[in-house]
């Protein structure tokens, strides 16, 4: 049984690369009979579980913190102290729920900030309409697009 699982896992790690990012695929919203079990698992895996995926070497560089990033960090911490979410709920929203493209493509604290906004809506602390109107108001106040 274990041998079967190991073979499945090692095939899975290769299948993941074939289905992501979705924009590179030819088939969109495919018929069920075109999707194998292996592809289904590759599509539905947690985006943060990247261990073992085929990738190119990444050059290690020192990250320089930005003020907005620190503010995003403090905001999410304060939200935890207020009971809005615990660390595991944060990880789910910051690393998994947003999908592979955002997980791999956005800045680290950009994902935190998006998740902070999302949990306010998901947790019914505010409505999406209120959030949209607030963002629009702040953009106008700062004269940004």
């Amino acid at each position: 049984m274990s041998t079967d699982t190991r073979e499945e896992v090692l095939r899975h790690l290769k299948a993941v690369v074939e289905v992501q990012p979705p924009v590179q695929q030819t088939g969109k919203a495919q018929y069920s009979w075109n999707i194998t079990h292996e592809q289904f698992r590759a599509y539905t895996r947690s985006p943060h579980d990247v261990g073992g995926e085929v990738d190119v070497p990444v050059e290690w560089t020192e990250e320089h913190g930005e003020a907005w990033g620190y503010r995003a960090y403090v905001t999410t911490e304060v939200m935890a102290w207020r009971g809005v979410w615990c660390a595991e709920e944060r990880r789910r929203m910051q690393n998994v729920d947003l999908g592979t493209s955002q997980y791999l493509g956005l800045p680290y604290y950009g994902r935190w900030l998006l998740a902070a906004a999302r949990v306010l809506v998901e947790g019914r602390h505010c409505t999406l309409t209120e959030l949209i109107n607030k963002i629009d108001e702040v953009k106008k106040r700062h004269g940004t697009r």
């Binding site: 274990s2 190991r6 499945e8 539905t44 261990g51 102290w81 207020r82 009971g83 809005v84 709920e89």
Partner: protein, 121 residues
């Protein structure tokens, strides 16, 4: 947000910390011992887990019994009323990656699991 009280988790962790606030809240003593050989189960992994897929089906040995906490799969939605023991399991790298160089046969990797992911090997 468990049970409609969005401060539930913050209340039980205040003054103790997390995971210290879950000490003594699992069903009993740990099912596995330090040094015991364990195999990682291949449970469904939709929506959320912290059990890395590359460990599934692999056999390692328990390095440390760490703490009790709700499983990530539950805590990720704010369910903190059931706890499990957590373990650090040590694998030989060559047992995880078929192409791992024989010259580094003694290399190991350690990672953490909640008890539900382990079975005796």
């Amino acid at each position: 947000m468990a049970h409609g009280d969005r401060n539930h988790h913050a209340k039980i962790a205040t003054g103790k910390g997390d995971p210290q606030c879950f000490k003594g809240t699992s069903d009993g003593p740990p099912k596995f011992k330090v040094g015991q050989r364990v195999r990682i189960r291949n449970l469904p992994d939709i929506f959320y887990t912290r059990c890395q897929v590359y460990t599934r089906g692999a056999v390692g040995e328990v390095a440390v019994i760490t703490h009790e906490s709700p499983a990530p799969e539950d805590e990720a939605w704010g369910h903190v009323d059931k706890s499990e023991w957590f373990y650090i399991v040590r694998f030989k790298q060559k047992d995880l990656w078929p192409e791992y160089p024989a010259a580094f046969a003694n290399d190991t990797l350690q990672t953490e699991f909640s008890e539900r992911w382990l079975e005796p090997a």
